[in-house]
């Protein structure tokens, strides 16, 4: 049984009045009353929420004064109202807890103000009367004015005054609008007014609407709000952002209903401007609370856009707007509460949170919710919103939304990076009354994620086994690393064993790399001691994302998996010591790419038509990936373009590659192979899927696949070229990955049988040798304490196993027979024989030998040359790091001898798509229409010749002794310092002279300029807010005039 909603208001008020009866000194009792009242109000609202959610009952009108509306004020309780009330009251309850100390110090009056504030917010949501709405607004204004004063920050007073100034302007406009609206319609009831429409009093309605809109703190009429966000008590700021903004949005929605469809564009316009501007302005912020304030403004803007688009959202309106609103509210409240723990106000001061992993989890949950990442409601909502926008062809709006969201993710994740990587002098103490609200927000976030997953009508991400497995590691954080590692390896292997039969050969290859490949790399993780907090949930989320990607058959599943693997890998990369800026650029590029994919899917979905269950034809909000093939002109090439760029971001195609070197190089020893050897393949898988389903596309006469061919070739060349100039071993390998991915992209874009086969060989080979090399180099770096190659040298005798791995790796990679790299080259030559385009091959021809250069550099400067004095006592890398390398050596040799084991099945599979040019696998010789290749024979011949000569040499020199290190003559002197005789630094100087012009950091500069531009824009925008309350009033009036004029123009 539920309790009349009026009791919520009555309780709030009654409790507020009751506190006045108490003695000034009995603050403890007053506080108990406050908490009790808020808890009761929350319980009543929650009861309603359960009722509506469980029964799907219709909204219920509540009369007052025993008189029906419109003659008396009426309230309405429905699903949305109940949800909002629950949110508001819980936010109030937890805000009271969070502010407990302050409230107790300030006494019962402060508690009364808080109670009235919460009551008024509830009233704002419930009321159906326009003037009543005004009254509640004013109550909120005044209560805000009071609660702002609870802050310890003296500046809060001036912020509150600025707020009062603007609210005076607002209330004047609102009152004038209301009274003329009343005059025109003869009623104050919102529904009554809506029935009559705003046509008769458009001007008055404009005043009402703009006044209510101003309560949403739209850009630029929001300087006061930012000052409040910055200076208010965080407990109140949470309430202000979570509850007040939500209630105001709901009120705006109600008022907008009066105006009808013709006013929707106003909401959209205000919303999108606020969203983009809010995010841009947040970019240069360094104060945490102000940044959150800007983010709140932006988020309100986004929700406003959803409100403005309700005409096309249809039945999804509540799902979308509610999802956005609740994620924002919960996340923002949680973050503000968290800021209460942080002593300093700089973003970097949040590093103190690291002392409490639970708080870090809460922080990251908040950020993920704000950024709309899975599995939180914002993700589902964004998916629907973008799809519906695309369906209506509102692509410009869609573009701006995604742009704003990307900027937002940029500054949020930058902040998270600070928290994880910077140092803080402050300590954190966790009184339970402050921890409980944060935990509540944390739990609410996940619960909402679950709820939205259920409501979405798609697979609930929080019920998907791989993700659950990953998240389970969150609960295992107390366990030692070796135990978790064993579990991780076991999980991956078991998953493979359970599912491998379900896949076609192509996917199976990826599956093997994603699961077993990952498991092998995890062997290296045994070297870590302690608990390694944060590593396993992140890593397993990444692997979960990857296996889900393979499972996904529809666009939603695919995209969700894509986002999961992105997030997981971001956290992994962030773990590196110096990886903060690189992880940031990784996540920004990845999310940018993901948004393009999202846009591509949305546009595709708009033209893929499916049969709804009723038999009616409707646009699909999600579709089978395979039906990309059915897309028609003119949509198809655009979809192709968006998806291709999205996937190429992941494979670090040139121009989109600048995130990769830092991200891969700075990652931990066992993480580098995961993100390089394994993760990059996800991008290739995407490209495979794309090309398999869509084939060739052309746009304005440009063959897009051909374009990809060029991009692949240029990437291969420049990636390799950049690699040879690196002094840092892991960066070298990272650039080499760029080049290798270029090869694979090139192979795919050849669009012939052998091209694809070659790309697949790269998938396998690159996994093996790049994982191996990263482990080997990582082990060396671990021992020597540096990654600069010129500081190493002569390690061959000290770390022979690592050397062997590197040697085998570079032979394989350079394509020299007899190891497996040659197979790739052979297929490549056969493939290009069939290709239509010849020029890009030139670049590939060039990049091959260049690869040789950096490989030689790698092995020479680390393992050969002169051993340094400080390294004389080094030991071989730990067994756990060497063991996987040896496994890889075995695999490489195995693959080199029997490539057919895997490839012939794939070859047959590819024939389904591109039948021409299949290879002939009879006997030991692999034959194409142009040539042949017998790996076994090559291996035997080379081995025989080699062993013959070697044996002879061994025999004749059996007495040879190893000479001392300095037993050489160098410029007529006997050297004594290894540093002077280890030729390693600036290894390929002549190449730089001759070809250096190709590797000028143009791309870095380009993206740097873009970033600077955004920052500058944000910085310029900030100057609007000069702190003068009067100027803020001008902003408000200008805002009104601009909207007015643009509305006239429309």
């Amino acid at each position: 049984m539920v309790i009349n909603a009026l009791h919520i208001l009555a309780t709030g008020l009654g409790a507020a009045f009751l506190t006045g009866l108490l003695d000034e000194k009995r603050n403890g009792l007053a506080f108990m009353i406050t908490l009790g009242a808020l808890a009761f109000m929350s319980a009543v609202s929650a009861g309603w929420l359960v009722l509506f959610a469980a029964t799907g009952a219709h909204p219920m009108d509540i009369q007052t004064a025993g008189t029906p509306p419109p003659f008396a004020i009426a309230l309405r309780m429905g699903l949305a109202e109940a949800a909002l009330l629950t949110l508001i009251n819980l936010a109030g309850l937890f805000a009271a807890m969070h502010m407990g100390e302050t409230l107790l110090a300030r006494g019962r009056r402060a508690m009364a103000v808080l109670l009235v504030m919460v009551m008024a917010l509830c009233g704002l949501v419930l009321t159906r009367d326009l003037f009543n709405l005004f009254v509640f607004f004013e109550l909120i204004v005044i209560a805000t004015g009071g609660l702002v004063l609870l802050s310890d920050d003296e500046r809060a007073v001036s912020a509150g005054f600025k707020y009062l100034i603007v609210s005076q302007f607002i209330s004047v406009l609102l009152l004038v609008g209301i009274v003329f609206g009343y005059h025109a319609t003869g009623t104050l009831n919102i529904d009554g007014m809506a029935e009559q429409g705003s046509g008769a009093f458009a001007l008055a309605f404009f005043l009402i609407l703009i006044a209510v809109a101003a309560e949403l703190k739209p850009f630029p009429a929001n300087g006061w709000a930012l000052d409040i966000y910055e200076s208010a008590h965080p407990g109140f700021a949470a309430l202000f952002s979570a509850a007040a903004a939500s209630a105001a949005l709901f009120a705006f929605d109600k008022v907008l209903a009066i105006g009808g469809a013709e006013w929707l564009p106003v909401a959209t316009g205000i919303g999108i401007v606020s969203f983009v501007a809010g995010n841009l302005l947040a970019l240069p912020q360094t104060n945490d609370r102000r940044l959150l304030g800007y983010s709140s403004i932006a988020q309100s803007g986004l929700i406003l856009v959803a409100i403005g688009q309700q005409d096309i959202l249809g039945e999804h309106y509540l799902f979308i707007a509610g999802g956005l609103l609740l994620s924002h509210a919960v996340a923002k409240a949680g973050l503000y509460w968290l800021s209460g723990f942080v002593a300093g106000r700089e973003l970097t001061d949040w590093a103190a949170l690291r002392q409490r992993p639970l708080l870090v989890l809460a922080f990251v949950t908040g950020i993920a919710m704000l950024s709309g990442l899975p599995p939180f409601p914002g993700f589902y909502a964004k998916w629907e919103l973008v799809h519906l926008l695309a369906n209506e062809g509102r692509l410009a709006l869609l573009g701006w939304i995604l742009f704003g969201a990307l900027v937002e993710a940029g500054y949020l994740f930058r902040w998270f990076g600070y928290a994880i990587k910077r140092e803080s002098a402050h300590t954190i103490d966790c009184p339970p009354d402050r921890v409980i609200p944060v935990i509540a927000a944390l739990l609410a976030g996940w619960a909402l994620g679950f709820a939205w997953g259920e409501l979405s009508g798609r697979s609930n991400l929080l019920l998907v086994l791989p993700l659950l497995f990953a998240l389970a590691f969150l609960l295992l954080e107390w366990a030692p690393a070796w135990l978790k590692n064993t579990l991780a390896i076991g999980g991956l292997s078991l998953y493979f064993l359970q599912t491998w039969q379900d896949y076609d050969p192509l996917r199976l290859i990826f599956l093997v790399i994603f699961t077993l490949g990952g498991a092998i790399i995890f062997l290296a993780s045994f070297h870590a001691h302690g608990r390694r907090i944060g590593f396993y949930p992140s890593a397993m989320t990444m692997f979960a994302g990857m296996v889900l990607l393979l499972q996904a058959t529809d666009s939603f599943g695919f995209f969700a998996a894509w986002e999961l693997l992105t997030i997981g890998s971001y956290f992994l990369i962030l773990r590196g010591k110096e990886s903060e800026p690189h992880a940031l650029s990784y996540i920004v590029f990845s999310l940018g790419g993901a948004f393009l994919i999202l846009a591509g899917f949305a546009i595709a979905a708009a033209s893929v038509v499916t049969l709804a269950p009723s038999g009616a034809v409707s646009p699909a909000p999600t579709f089978e990936i395979a039906s990309l093939a059915t897309l028609a002109q003119p949509v198809a090439p655009w979809v192709f373009l968006l998806l291709a760029i999205g996937f190429m971001t992941k494979t670090a195609a040139i121009g989109l590659h600048i995130w990769l070197p830092g991200a891969h190089a700075e990652a931990e020893t066992d993480v580098s192979p995961m993100v390089s050897g394994v993760l990059l393949k996800a991008g290739l898988y995407g490209l495979f899927v794309l090309l398999m389903s869509m084939g060739r596309q052309s746009l304005y006469g440009v063959d897009l696949v051909n374009l990809m061919l060029w991009i692949g070739a240029i990437t291969a060349l420049l990636g390799n070229l950049m690699a040879i100039f690196q002094e840092d071993a892991k960066r070298l390998l990272a650039y080499s990955s760029i080049g290798q991915m270029g090869y694979a992209l090139f192979g795919l874009a050849l669009m012939n049988h052998l091209g694809w086969l070659m790309a697949l060989m790269f998938v396998i080979n690159h996994y093996v040798y790049k994982s191996m090399l990263f482990l080997s180099v990582g082990g060396v770096a671990k021992r020597t304490g540096t990654r600069a190659m010129y500081q190493m040298g002569g390690l061959i005798t000290l770390m022979p196993l690592s050397f062997i791995a590197t040697l085998v790796g570079i032979i394989a990679m350079s394509g020299v027979p007899p190891l497996s790299g040659f197979g790739g080259r052979w297929i490549f030559y056969n493939a290009i024989m069939d290709a239509d385009t010849r020029l890009p091959m030139v670049l590939i021809f060039l990049s091959g030998p260049i690869a040789f250069l950096y490989l030689f550099r790698l092995i020479h400067t680390i393992f050969l040359g002169q051993l340094k004095d400080e390294h004389r006592r080094l030991k071989e890398a730990p067994l756990s790091i060497v063991l996987p390398q040896m496994i890889y050596v075995a695999i490489l040799i195995g693959v080199a001898i029997f490539p057919g084991l895997i490839l012939r099945r794939v070859d047959a599979y590819i024939s389904q798509f591109l039948p021409d040019g299949a290879l002939n696998w009879e006997g030991l010789t692999i034959t194409s229409q142009y040539g042949w290749w017998n790996p076994v024979a090559i291996m035997i011949v080379v081995a025989c010749i080699f062993l013959l000569i070697f044996g002879w040499l061994l025999f004749v020199n059996r007495k040879a002794q190893k000479v001392k290190q300095f037993n050489i003559v160098f410029s007529a002197e006997r050297p004594y310092r290894p540093e002077t005789t280890h030729f390693a630094w600036n290894f390929f100087a002549p190449y730089k002279k001759a070809m250096g012009f190709l590797v000028q950091p143009f791309v870095t500069r380009f993206w740097g300029a873009i970033t600077d531009l955004l920052h500058t824009a944000g910085d310029l925008g900030r100057r609007l807010y000069n702190g003068n309350g009067q100027i803020y009033a001008f902003h408000f009036l200008i805002f009104v005039v601009v909207v007015f004029v643009s509305q006239l123009g429309m």
Binding site: I811, W826, R838, M841, V842, G865, A937
Partner: protein, 301 residues
């Protein structure tokens, strides 16, 4: 084409012939070069003496495993390259192990020795070894480019990657040689050829050897002998590729001797006429002159 035990003695025979030919031709070319410089030059059997002497010497030092392996890789590379090609067109006896792979195998196996040598020299710990190796690698990376394009052009022209088939297509008169049917590709390839023959003007990378402290000082006695043997085999093997691809191949040993000699002479001829380039100059040279030719050859074929 398949394996056959008889191929093993045949392979030894091929190697034997090529080694002898290589020694003689190398000395001859060197003598021609000396004469062009108004010097007397070495006797024609000089290489035999050197090699016999070096094989006879015993060393008692080594710098380490890779140092050891350097010459082994080197010689394996040379011999392997030779044996992976059908040396004499139409001859089963001298088709060697070409069943193991086609043109691409030969192209890539060229690097096998280079790699080993680079590694071996590196372990000597001598900085000049590394300097020489890096210079060589840098230059070769660009010099190989026009060659690769020429090969691609030829493969496209004949629509095959089989050396035998390419040679077959050039039979029936000189005018059928690729030299005449695809002159641009040949021009590009011949420029690349200059770059890979370790002769002026593209020989700066062996400069560290000339000031006698590079690999040859570190590699002595039997190590040096292996390398000298390779210096007889490897150029011939390499020229055989060129000959097969561009100059109609060879149907018999004498034909092979003549063609290889003239091709070798070509590089020597250029070598005595031009001074040495620095590495970056060679790179630019190939980039400016040879690469466009290669591109052109791909485009027009």
């Amino acid at each position: 084409m398949d394996f056959d035990w008889m191929k093993i003695p045949y392979a030894f025979l091929t190697v034997f012939i090529v080694v002898n030919y290589g020694f003689l031709m190398g000395a001859l070319i060197q003598k021609i070069g000396a004469r062009a410089g108004r010097r007397h030059g070495i006797p024609i059997w000089q290489y035999y003496l050197d090699v016999i002497k070096n094989y006879g010497l015993r060393t008692s030092i080594t710098h380490g495993v890779m140092f050891y392996l350097g010459p082994v890789f080197r010689l394996s590379g040379g011999v392997g390259l030779l044996l992976f090609m059908p040396v004499i067109y139409g001859s089963y006896m001298f088709s060697n192990f070409s069943f193991a792979g086609d043109l691409i195998l030969a192209l890539y196996f060229v690097f096998f020795g280079t790699l080993g040598m680079a590694l071996g020299a590196g372990e000597s710990g001598h900085p000049h070894a590394a300097i020489g190796v890096t210079r060589g690698l840098q230059q070769v990376s660009m010099a190989e480019l026009p060659f690769a394009m020429a090969v691609f052009s030829v493969a496209l022209q004949y629509q095959t990657l089989s050396i035998t088939e390419i040679v077959a297509a050039q039979q029936g008169g000189m005018m059928n040689w690729t030299l005449f049917t695809n002159p641009i590709a040949v021009a590009a390839a011949m420029l690349a050829f200059l770059g890979s023959m370790m002769r002026p003007p593209f020989d700066v990378f062996i400069a560290p050897q000339e000031i006698p402290i590079g690999p040859p000082t570190e590699y002595h006695s039997s190590y040096l002998a292996l390398m000298q043997t390779n210096r007889a085999i490897f150029p011939v093997a390499k020229i055989v590729i060129y000959m097969n691809l561009f100059f109609g191949g060879a149907g018999s040993w004498p034909e092979l001797f003549v063609k290889v000699f003239f091709l070798y002479l070509f590089s020597a001829f250029v070598g005595v006429c031009f001074p040495r380039f620095r590495v970056e100059q060679s790179i630019r040279f190939f980039l400016v002159w040879a690469v466009p030719l290669g591109v052109l050859s791909i485009m027009v074929v």
